[in-house]
Subunit: 350 residues, 2 copies
């Protein structure tokens, strides 16, 4: 039989998630004139004449991205759609269609699948997107959901990661870190439950954090606000892996540096409180915790006046020359080099 | 903790693969004007003005769709692209872009991933499509590949499943059943190997059948031939689940019946020989074996002259009124009702 013979074996963890994708896709040049933008942004861009098509895809794997011990199936369906729509908004495009592929073991019933699709439908209705295709198949173990979102935008309205300029202001929508702390609460209660199944989970009072984790929303509203205010961001990304990680993506793509102000990073009071209760640093949770699905974008300095009165939007720093690095100016007035910390999916323990 | 409480539990097998997709997606109406065609064809169709975008997605799961004991990783990468391109051609569209998402356990090395991407790149080069996005993540077990293909077509050139008319002729490209028999050979040698790892596999002389299984091609050439001959099929589908299953899809979507001629179903001599060697009926293998990735389409009777001289194309029957059912006219001149037999992915043993 054709046995795999591998003289060299490099562990996937050595490259990191983003390094691995870069490594694998570097030898894929774009050849078709309609391929405007390929790997390396929130979504790909395809030229269709008057309108461009924006495509993004994400895979959620049970045991890696979600834990069914505390994730209701309906929420899971909802979230699997929302995280993809978030990528489309991050291109300043409007999502219009999704496809959903699912692989599941036979421990899932038709009713369980209906729950997932209920969540998918709720997201479709709220965000006005259509389910247009997909695939349902079995898996030897666990549940895997792969969603592809398709959006539309006028070609000159599409915002990439790679176009931030020195002097641009960094903006962050909403607050960050809450989804991460919601996850910590759910994980804690799971451990309590596993060690003693008779105990009741202590989730009361944590509604906000838990909802941020289990039922995130994509910032469709902000895309509308910006259009109304006639502000076209100079670069944009959604916050799926944490503010720090996203700033590094923008800086790497745009070949710039960044100076982030701690005072501009909004943390919800519940998140602040819970971080302290967990003996964690709130700003670390805010910068490195992922899954907030807020937007991080840059604007020309002259647009500062226009965004000033937009709700739930914070100016949180400035783009600087690449040689100045990526720095955090703490509330105490000290400069710290920022480190990118995406989610470490390739955990050897998993 | 939020435990799943399921008062009713319907096994997913009770609905069958297609029934399950129908059931889950029936409450998803299309709302966006750009959503031209949703679930239920080889691909979705999106209106982008001058050109329509065609989107198809497929998920391949280790242990269900492929077995790495006899599937070289490069072939797997190649096939995972080709099966999606086949869906785009089946809409009479030209694939232009793909996204690839992959979940894999840490038993896979970077080198193993490179092999898969080598196959993906080879397919991209041969079929002139660009890899524009994707996702690489870990899985607790096994390998899952999800590919989304995006194509373009002029709106009036797109061919659906639902538009076959009574009197149309049924055409099948190439030969069918070979991929299924290739799989049977590989499965047999796997069993031999498992019972005695010292034996050498007997694959010699089976190159054609094994290649049909491990490295199928999509019929891009045929789409070109038809355009050149100025024949626009009245309906079309690719043969992924077997001729019989695809004919049922066309008939159900178009609300018609079909009379298939056994003499019009081409079987490769190697497939014929191997079916007999396995004590199987060659025509059953040809009609029910899947993964040939040939095209099945219908044409207006007046186009018969135009397709007559096209290479590798067989007229294999006629569309009849729905009340006449879906029948096979055997070489012996007897009429048999045809039964749809897709792949039973939801095998309770898996």
């Amino acid at each position: 039989m054709a046995e795999e013979q591998q003289p060299k074996r490099t562990d996937v963890n050595t490259l990191g998630e983003f390094g691995l994708i870069d490594h694998l896709t570097q030898r894929f040049p774009l050849r078709n004139p309609s391929s405007v933008l390929g790997v390396g942004d929130d979504a790909a861009v395809i030229n269709n004449g008057d309108l461009h098509t924006v495509v993004s895809t994400d895979m959620l794997v049970e045991g890696i991205h979600f834990d069914l011990m505390y994730t209701p199936l309906k929420h899971l369906g909802y979230k699997s759609v929302v995280v993809n729509l978030s990528d489309i908004y991050a291109m300043n495009a409007q999502p219009k269609q999704i496809t959903v592929s699912m692989a599941l073991s036979n421990r899932f019933s038709v009713e369980a699948l209906e729950e997932i699709y209920d969540g998918i439908r709720t997201a479709c209705e709220l965000y006005k997107v259509d389910l247009v295709g997909g695939d349902t198949t079995s898996s030897p173990k666990g549940l895997i959901i792969s969603v592809t979102a398709v959006g539309q935008a006028e070609p000159d309205k599409i915002v990439r990661r790679s176009t931030a300029q020195v002097g641009d202001l960094i903006c962050i929508t909403g607050n960050v870190g809450a989804a991460y702390l919601g996850l910590q609460i759910l994980e804690r209660e799971k451990q309590v439950y596993l060690s003693n199944p008779d105990t009741q989970p202590e989730l009361e009072g944590h509604d906000y954090l838990i909802e941020r984790q289990l039922k995130p929303e994509a910032r469709r509203d902000m895309i509308g606000h910006l259009a109304k205010a006639e502000v076209l961001p100079t670069s944009m990304i959604d916050i799926s892996d944490g503010v720090a990680s996203e700033i590094f993506h923008i800086c790497k793509s745009s070949k710039v540096g960044a100076l982030l102000e701690e005072s501009g990073v909004s943390i919800h009071p519940d998140a602040e409180y819970q971080a302290v209760a967990f003996n964690l640093d709130p700003i670390t949770c805010a910068l490195s915790g992922g899954e907030d699905y807020e937007l991080l974008f840059t604007i020309k300095p002259e647009d500062a006046e226009k965004v000033k009165y937009l709700p739930d939007l914070y100016i949180a720093g400035e783009i600087v020359p690449a040689e100045d690095g990526v720095m955090l100016n703490s509330k105490g007035g000290k400069l710290h080099p920022l480190t990118a910390q995406g989610w470490q999916h390739f955990n050897p323990n998993q």
